[in-house]
Symmetry: C2
Subunit: 397 residues, 2 copies
């Protein structure tokens, strides 16, 4: 043995996140050429500021509420009044009837996913992910010795194909992760898509006699354009658990604040809810950050500047099209998913010559594409277009 | 199979934390008798407010720094300037030479412990805990399929016995957790104790030819009375990793903010540091809450009101002694560790009759004692004394 750490973690140190590597590369290039001359589209780190109301809420809370309450421990699930407010806000929007007892405040959506996977998975249990998918799902599932099973992409329009889902299900399938609006494609899964997947899951649940859960990972829910509706999944499928984060919708990614919705009608509801509260504790989260819980509860009707993202979307889309690239016009999130006329990793390397940083599709189990995160300043997009034009020429487009 | 969740988590739902159960019981009794008539000593939730400076720091940051930076992603290890400030503060206090590259900001000490255990443990690896110990260590170790091995308590003075540590070490021992000032006893491990344990570990490292790490869990470091010095462990043993939290020292337990110190001189330093950053990410923490990172960096010289805890300590100690109880005079943390003249769980049940909530020693792998957390208002202590007096009489003291 040449090292003394966990074998799982040793493996991870040998193949670190491509997204994070690009993030570090961005820092290196910025030091060389100046931040304004580097066009870093690698990370989903919103460039638009949190709404002013967040600041007001935080300072207002610190002025008016007791510090021992604001900064103190509470139930592992979170402050009851905050959970009640979240439930009420969901009920108003989606005609549901959740209560505080259906909500667990979490350390972002990543924390929430870990909590629910810890709650559900036995070693060897399978979790389906729909390619292309957020690469961290594999690590989260692996934390609990589950097996991530990838459903191949439907490259026609990146609406997942229910028959492909059916083929991937086995008696060991415990859950399916659905991420819509999707990272990395920007596609919003349609009600039709969801219905067809729900029908497959229902028939497989009957066949095997045990539940298969949908885990809806929804940090991009609020980011949908052109009035497109993002289906609320608990209305389509009984065994749905939703994970949310304010990282993108209120530009608070560093604050690690989100929640899980565990509807009363899911199988084993009480057991799952209780276990998830305990998982939140034993994984070391203990509870979602307390001041930020109280702050977001005061900002449930706030939204980030969706028009700014929309304007970025148009700017980048038009620029890329004019340069000759092929990409779908995304309806949600803040990612452009662009077909590469060469190997996608080679594309990323070529792009670096023009100080453009993007992430290869192979990092999302879907080679032949790149992800361009346009949650950046419009200047970054404008500045990058000449580089994209040169890159297109170099690639013979 | 009668349920559909993780077997590990099912086990945990069947034996929930005694501390947390007491916390819930406190809520129930408060609803029945009024909060002021319930003497809840069950949870380490500081009753003293965070220093005013925390509020000033938070609002000042929100006024003067860019929200995209304050609430944004940064490296998984945390903001470089915050880590540098933490390192500098440690260097000033302990004559060390840490840099930002030795510090990982974490979601509290619980998050930090999970990160380092995830980093180090392979299934079956053993981690030693010194009884009595914080009951969550067992869950943290179990998260990574490690085995917690309990070193029996030295009930003479609750300074751990190095020979007992030696007996517990096997070729599978990966780490030893040291928690001083100690939860639940309030004992500060002496330099002599630490030296004797370090000598045992060093000889065992040589014997087995692999490192055995000390994981120093230090949320109570700042809470020491009578001028007693809390040994800084990296000065005593090379393979020491320190976990810290501002939960107790600045009364911020709900905010989930702390750090790991990974000294450059430990075996496999680079690999362990890199793996710990990745573990922080893949466990779903991603990074310590961002605004709170920036706030604590401005409050590194702030302390909670130690005199208030000290006054509580004297008040409770004198009250308990006069009532006839036997307890050591604790030098640190905010716990009193009291010998029970009957079964410790029975003691806790009897105490409830007087609306007094305490936690049985058996929850810390040390039956025959109870833990009384005196991080409460002095009124709670004063109000509880008549109950303790009656309880002592009932127990024939």
């Amino acid at each position: 043995m040449t090292h003394h750490i966990s074998e799982k973690m040793f493996g991870l140190t040998q193949r670190n996140s491509a997204v994070r590597e690009m993030f570090e590369e961005g820092g290196r290039l910025a030091a060389l050429y100046g931040r304004e001359n580097v066009f870093d589209f690698s990370l989903g780190n919103p460039n638009f500021p949190a709404p002013e109301k967040i600041k007001e809420a935080i300072c207002g809370i610190l002025e008016s509420e007791s510090p021992t309450m604001v900064h103190g421990y509470m139930s592992n699930a979170g402050y009851p009044d905050v959970r009640e407010a979240v439930a009420a806000s969901l009920n108003k929007r989606f005609a549901t009837s959740f209560g505080a007892g259906n909500i667990i405040m979490t350390v972002g959506a990543a924390g929430g996913l870990n909590v629910i996977l810890k709650t559900l998975l036995n070693p060897g249990d399978e979790v389906l992910a729909l390619a292309p998918y957020f690469l961290e799902y594999g690590n989260y599932v692996n934390n609990y010795d589950g097996v991530l099973v990838v459903v191949p992409a439907n490259t026609a329009d990146f609406q997942p194909d229910a028959e492909a889902v059916r083929k991937a299900i086995t008696p060991k399938t415990k859950a399916l992760i659905i991420n819509s609006p999707n990272n990395p494609t920007g596609v919003v899964y349609s009600a039709e898509t969801i219905k067809s997947i729900a029908a497959v899951l229902e028939s497989k649940q009957r066949e095997y006699g045990h539940p298969i859960f949908i885990l809806a990972d929804e940090p991009y829910r609020e980011l949908a354009y052109d009035g497109v509706e993002v289906p609320w999944l608990t209305g389509f499928y009984q065994n749905t658990i939703v994970g949310y984060s304010w990282s993108k919708s209120l530009s608070l990614p560093g604050e690690r604040i989100g929640y899980l919705v565990i509807p009363s009608e899911i199988d084993d509801f009480s057991l799952i809810f209780d276990a998830a509260c305990i998982a939140n504790r034993v994984l070391g989260f203990v509870n979602a950050p307390s001041l930020m819980q109280r702050a977001v509860a005061k900002c449930l009707d706030e939204r980030t500047d969706i028009d700014a993202y929309d304007s970025n979307r148009k700017l980048l889309y038009n620029g890329l099209k004019e340069a000759g690239f092929e990409c779908a016009y995304p309806q949600g999130a803040f990612y452009m998913w662009v077909k590469t006329p060469c190997d996608d990793k080679e594309f990323c390397n070529l792009a670096k010559k023009y100080n453009i940083l993007v992430v290869p599709g192979s990092s999302f189990a879907c080679p032949g594409y790149v992800r361009i995160a346009y949650c950046v300043s419009p200047k970054t997009i404008e500045g990058s277009i000449p580089g994209f034009v040169k890159l297109a020429k170099e690639l013979g487009l």
